[in-house]
Amino acid sequence: MLELSFWQLFEIYVIGAFYDLVAVSYMILPFVLYILLVPNKLWSSKGHRYVTYGFVYVLLYLLVFYGFSEWFFWDEFGVRFNFIAVDYLVYTTEVIGNIRESYPMGILLSVVGLLAGIIFYILLKLNYINKILEDKSTLKQRLKPALFYFLLPVLFFNFVTQDYAKISKNKYNNELAKDGLYSLFSAFRNNTLDYDSFYITHDEEKVIGNIRKIVKAEETLIKDDKGIFHKIIKEGQEKDYNVMMVVVESLSGEFLESLNGFKGLTPKLDALAKESLFFDKFYATGTRTIRGMEAITLSVPPTAGRSIVKRPDNHNMFSSGFIFKNRGYETKFIYGGHGYFDNMNEFFSNNGFDIVDRSDFSDEEDTFHTIWGVCDENLMDKALSEADKSYKAHKPFMSFIMTTSNHRPYDFPDGRIDMPSHSGRDAAVKYTDFAIGKFLEDAKKKPWFKNTIFVIVADHCASSSGKTDLSIDKYQIPLFIYAPDLIRPKRISKLSSQVDIMPTLFSLLNWSYDSKFYGQDILADDFDERALVGTYQMLGLFKDNRLTLLSPGKKIHAYEPIKSNIFDTTYKDTSVSKEVEDEVVSYYQSASLFHKKRLDRYDAKH
């Protein structure tokens, strides 16, 4: 919620107007150039007048459309245009398809057209455009004001950052003091962030020493390794159980009654919580699907900038896919959408997984879909048939199944649950819950069921906006590990992270292996409780009831939750001890360093 004192309101509008001015100073550059260069004869001609009328109408249309877009983006994400909007501009097919399915576009575009028409009519009535077109100034006279308009964006580019909008500790206030268009271009410019330039750094040797201690790599470090490459040693027989991991789109902890969230949205999962290893203090590393994928498959902290899934040079990472594959598993990334979205196919296919995406679904297998992909029932049926294939080939299998139904437009097949399709997020959550329940029931009939571990986890929460720059309750997600014939149910209340999933799973399989993972076995007695959380700029460590955040500008802040539940957290500022600073810097500086030096790669010899 917004915190609105008179002074804050004043700041929101004044600083907001400043950012509006900065944004429009960039926007007007082509117009200034045109106005400067067009000769008077053409400027005053009849043809030019009609072209100008048309142009002004189009401009008004775009302006009003921009206002509406900001409103819808805010409604979805609670922030001004950001990183996500940049990605949305790249994946136009999915995004335009999603918008068409989510909103009554015909009505909306007509309203925009009508509003633009009303403003255009007022301008014509004022005779404003005609007066401008009567101008007879010389090129020399026009040069002075043109130079002024050219100089403005140069000044703004060099001296203005988003920092001036930090007027409050309340994130909503800060976002309102920004301009959407400026934020969009700022996100373009800051898409990647070099750790060493923007964040606190410590001595490299010290950082490497610390991180080895933190991830317990010291004693079993592989000789001459410059990073954290170490041996995990287990006694006893190794198991080759199958693994089916369902990564659920936007399944926030708050949707589950078993996590003290909303009641009645996830009856199947709430029942499953009692039959599984159920982790109730579990956190996503980020706010995007590809962040979740990065954390789960690579077991690394969320480094600054975009997820490794989307970066160039992300082949042959130290991926859990390779570890499974080298043990004879059939590893598949199974996705109901087109896996080129967000570079997923490129990442998975070069990191130990085979791809099964929407192009592999036959017409019979695709009974219902949205622009994001086939419905969750279809996806899970496909996962079952892929598992059958591996079983027939006498191969153990590991499936990474990514769902899509809990995504706007929230459409799903009718008659499955007691809520209608296209009626919002809650209904989509309930449908996904239904689909998972059906999937497990169907799996129970399979000959491979008794030998299979099911992992169900979210990629990230449904909403990431909160009062602070990074609100910890917006990262809490559920994790289930279910294998009724293999693993005894238990509620695990250890603070843990998505990066811990694979090490925990490998421990349940009793595997000895060489590891570059940051994650740890949550079930181990000496597990050090903590969660690693990040946005594309803020890098956080949540530990001992304290959230410590690194941010660009080499800043560090710590917050202590004083009131917290699954829906909301209230914080107070607190100091950062040397020990905590060492730990948080060690996590993120080392992850960035290892990636830069390619120490996070998989060597086929492993």
Binding site: M1, L2, L4, F6, L9, F10, I12, Y13, G16, A17, D20, L21, A23, V24, M27, I28, F31, V32, I35, W43, V56, L59, L60, L63, V64, Y66, G67, E70, W71, W74, D75, G78, I119, L123, L126, Y128, I129, K131, I132, E134, D135, S137, R142, P145, Y149, Y172, E175, L176, D179, G180
Partner: protein, 62 residues
Amino acid sequence: MNKTSYQIHLRVIIISYYFRILIQGFIMHTYLQNRFGFITLVVSLFLIVSAITRTILLVQSL
């Protein structure tokens, strides 16, 4: 007028004045008759649309 409605009233006044300044600025620009009047038109309209959007988002976040 009780305290809450008084405070709401004051906030509405602040926002109204902001819009008044913008609109007055816009009307003033209509007397600029050279080519750069087009730029002031674009700037004014952008500021007004942004301010309306900001107000909608603000009300939505209350």
